[in-house]
């Protein structure tokens, strides 16, 4: 049965009240495809133990950190069961290694990890891996544990999952990148590869893998890749971003309204620049200066020219400087308005001539 059919059947059974059967189907599904976010979400509702619910929700959250309902539900559960509030579980029941209840009761994290390391040192890899999986279900924040799992993963799928957790905890892990580089992913692992490169902030490579994941045979992978791509593509652009200097910003913001004012003067002068009244020419310059000052105070307050202005006795008060800039802007507008009104008052409209 394909993953989606399996999922649909499980959902139907869950809705029909056959919770046990639905749970078994979903467990089979997540074992086959640990990347199925919705399966983890449904599983979180169907498993009876709160700890298992938390595990399922954490897995769902890892796969899709942007679904707010998952985070809300997880927070609720952690508040309800504070003893389980430490991030407990991740999906390391891979390969069917279910942890023994005794191993979960071990409280001394460091001691337990030392014992597991010892198992690997004695070349008891199978036992070590099983114990490590159990350990990581309990202490999912344990970076060294995940690093050990990366080194001793028995399959590429497990390696990818371990790397994902390791990079989530420490995206700058000195040796993780080498492992990621060596992976030759299958069609179904492109999404995970995209996530790994995203965690490593290798945006262009992440984009490449997410684009491949868009053609993945797994529906959930395609959806997640589609969701992540815009963000990662934006990061690619951000990495190449060109910054605008504050001086250029101030100049740009002053030019726009000055153009408007100049156009108005142009109209006032009968569309003939030679007829422009000298006072309006001066007011245009004052308007531009006022805008430069006003924008400068807002967007480049540390500019050396502004420092020089502030050194003068009158403008040591910032409010005075701001008011001065406003006056430089508003007075030319007032002057132009008065000029237009004066001309309007002097004008005698003869309707008979016009109509």
């Amino acid at each position: 049965m394909m993953h989606n059919e399996l999922f649909q059947t499980a959902v139907k059974k869950a809705k029909a009240g056959e919770r046990d059967q639905a749970r078994k189907l979903l467990l089979t599904l997540v074992e086959r495809n640990p990347q199925h976010e919705l399966a983890w979400l449904w599983l979180s509702e169907l498993v009876p133990e709160p700890e298992d619910k938390i595990i399922a929700l954490e897995n769902a959250l890892t796969l899709n950190p942007e679904r707010p309902q998952t985070q809300t539900r997880l927070t609720q559960l952690r508040q309800k069961y504070p003893k389980l509030s430490q991030p407990a579980a991740e999906q390391f029941s891979l390969n069917g290694h279910s942890p023994s209840p005794e191993s979960l009761l071990v409280s001394d994290e460091a001691l337990r990890f030392a014992e597991i390391s010892e198992l690997f040192a004695q070349n008891q890899v199978m036992d070590g891996r099983r114990e490590l999986a159990a350990f990581l279900r309990r202490y999912s924040h344990h970076e060294a544990g995940w690093w050990l799992m990366v080194q001793h993963a028995d399959s590429q799928a497990n390696l990818l999952t371990a790397l994902d957790h390791l990079l989530r905890l420490n995206a700058r892990h000195p040796e993780a990148f080498q492992y990621v580089e060596k992976i030759e992913p299958t069609n179904e692992q492109y999404l995970q590869m995209g996530r790994l490169y995203e965690r490593l902030e290798e945006w262009e490579t992440a984009v490449r893998y997410y684009k491949r994941a868009l053609k993945s045979p797994i529906n959930a992978d395609r959806l997640l890749a589609k969701k992540r791509l815009p963000h990662v593509e934006e990061q690619v652009k951000l990495a190449k971003i060109k910054f605008t200097s504050p001086s250029a910003t101030v100049l740009r913001l002053a030019i726009g309204p000055t153009l408007l004012y100049t156009m108005l003067i142009f109209v006032q002068a009968g569309l003939n620049p030679l007829h422009t009244p000298p006072l309006l020419c001066l007011s245009n310059i004052a308007f531009f200066a006022g805008l430069l000052l006003f924008s400068g105070l807002a967007y480049a307050p540390e500019h050396p020219w502004l420092d020089k202005v502030r050194e003068t006795a009158v403008f040591q008060n910032p409010l005075a400087l701001r008011l001065f800039s406003l006056a430089l802007i508003l007075l030319p507008i007032l002057l132009l308005l008065l000029h237009a009104i004066a001309r309007l008052r002097a004008f005698n409209l003869n309707l008979n001539d016009l109509l």
Partner: protein, 232 residues
């Protein structure tokens, strides 16, 4: 074909205060025009001639000059004229205002209106017919929208017979449609001296070209994103 609304959300602000203010002011001015038309027809004609843009007055430096250039964008020839302009303004201005901020948006709107008026005055410099309407400024806003959000989605109302459809279109189709239909009309005015036309096609084109200077009015962050081809 009438634009109804923009289907995409704003980035910086939730409420296009200046766009709404402009729409309300335009509506109030039309109400004033209707009142004058009803009770004082001479006053109405005076209003249109003194505060509309009359090319012969502008060229001979008579009447309100620059003031009329601004006020003419707030006068309209009737309800349909106003509704058409204001619907287009509502559809395209929301996100342009969002990218500029309200005051810079106002300056940009007026700038487009004034440039549209200048081009219109130049194209019919011997006429004594007042030019009124916000369409020059609205065309400027449309040009700005095309530059900033070419792939934006605009809901359009398309009439057929006695009914209409409401269909979303990509902004570039809508704006290019409006722009390209203006070109033959504007050329007609210029080459055939088609003075009977009651539509200021050159004002539309002038406003549209003025709208390409939108980058001078963008808020710093929006300009930064625009310059780096990030989504606005």
């Amino acid at each position: 074909m009438i634009p109804l609304t923009d289907l995409q959300p704003n980035r910086y602000t939730s409420f296009p205060i200046m766009t709404l203010t402009l729409i309300v002011v335009n509506m109030l001015v039309l109400v004033l025009q209707f009142l004058l038309l009803e009770f004082n027809i001479d006053g109405y004609i005076e209003l249109i001639y003194l505060f509309g843009s009359v090319p012969t007055f502008v060229i001979s430096q008579q009447a309100a000059g620059a003031l009329a250039s601004i006020t003419s964008t707030f006068l309209h020839g009737g309800m349909l004229h106003l509704v058409g302009n204001m619907l287009a303004l509502w559809a395209f201005a929301q996100r342009v205002e969002d990218a500029c901020g309200p005051w810079r948006f106002l300056a940009f709107y007026l700038f487009c209106g004034v440039v549209a008026d200048i081009i219109s005055t130049m194209s019919r410099s011997t006429e004594a017919i007042p030019g009124i309407g916000a369409s020059g400024a609205v065309y400027g806003i449309m040009a700005a929208y095309l530059i900033l959000y070419p792939r934006g989605r605009i809901k359009m109302m398309i009439f057929y017979g006695f009914g209409f459809w409401r269909v979303p279109f990509r902004a570039y189709w809508v704006i290019l449609f409006f722009f390209l239909t203006e070109i033959p009309n504007a050329l007609g005015v210029l080459l055939i001296n088609d003075v009977e036309s009651s539509v200021a096609h050159w004002a539309h084109l002038g406003g549209f070209f003025a709208g390409t200077l939108i980058f001078l009015f963008l808020r710093p962050d929006a300009f930064h994103r625009f310059r780096n081809e990030l989504p606005l």
